[in-house]
Symmetry: C2
DNA sequence: ATGCATGCAAAACCTTTGCACCGGA
DNA sequence: TCCGGTGCAAAGGTTTTGCATGCAT
């Protein structure tokens, strides 16, 4: 996903790619592997765009979601997180969420094609997108044996 | 899942099963196939427990989540929804979310065992729970051809 | 008496909205 | 000029928290 791809999508729908919107997209592109919150974006932009308010970020992210450029994720603890969708393949979002350290890891593979075919056959349901989250623990997690000491951080 | 199962789990952790908590559990048991919000529960209980406030429901649901008796789900639109976990098998939560009508259907089968085994082999990640949501459309959905008329309801 | 649980209200938190202003076609 | 976009502040909805009271051991 490049800036000019995104510019083309804006143009196709007659949305304006203003300097604010472009700056927000740039932050997303520069942090492609992260799952940023609105506040994350706000703070990263503040030095360069001190007047840009969170409302504009919310509005821009809604727009980008509508265009399927970003995906909005809400894990139910704290604020929603946003993520550029992967290159061509479109939908697929799988996460490993460690219950010890809270780490959120994205699985880059699409393992669900056959399940989707089965849903269509057996439920008459045409899948356009999915999200799969696993909770558990990394064997190598440094906090593996600290479970009882945890404060109540919600990881899912 | 029966009330006495739940009572046993409370006792095992030295939590008190007060009349308020029992009433909340009863509402969940009586609506086992629904995905209730705190407000849903509050309104259902109001006639019988007019003094019971939402704070108690929040606190009780947190407790029930911690005991893995209910699952908290947040789809990012509106309030969180809560659901009794299925009988013995423990974790498994798969949903079909229709983008036309917003209907939320639960899939009652556990299709992910082999994926979980693969995650352990390839990522060193021990899965304790997962959630799988599919967005799409039921072929039979009555609103199938009304997409352009939709207001912006968020279904995922 | 001690400590957990409750009820109420206030606060906190995240997000959306209203409205005046700005800037490009 | 027109219209979408922005900035700020206020409102909205959901959830958490503080604190006094209540209840059971």
């Amino acid at each position: 996903m490049t800036m000019s791809d995104i510019a083309a999508q804006f143009a196709a729908r007659q949305y304006k790619l203003t300097s604010q919107r472009e700056a927000i997209v740039r932050v997303l592109l520069e942090n492609e592997t992260e799952h940023l919150t609105v506040e994350d974006i706000y703070l990263k932009m503040k030095p360069y765009h001190p007047n840009l308010g969170m409302a504009t970020i919310y509005r821009t992210l809604d727009l980008l979601s509508e265009l399927h450029i970003v995906e909005k994720m809400n894990f139910g603890d704290g604020p929603a997180r946003y993520d550029l969708r992967g290159g061509g393949q479109g939908h697929m979002h799988h996460h490993l969420i460690c219950e010890d350290c809270g780490e959120l890891t994205e699985i880059k593979e699409d393992w669900l094609a056959e399940l989707e075919a089965r849903l269509e056959r057996e439920y008459g349901f045409l899948v356009t997108d999915h999200r799969l989250d696993f909770k558990g623990r990394f064997k190598t997690c440094e906090r593996h044996d600290c479970r009882s000491a945890r404060t109540g951080r919600q990881v899912g």
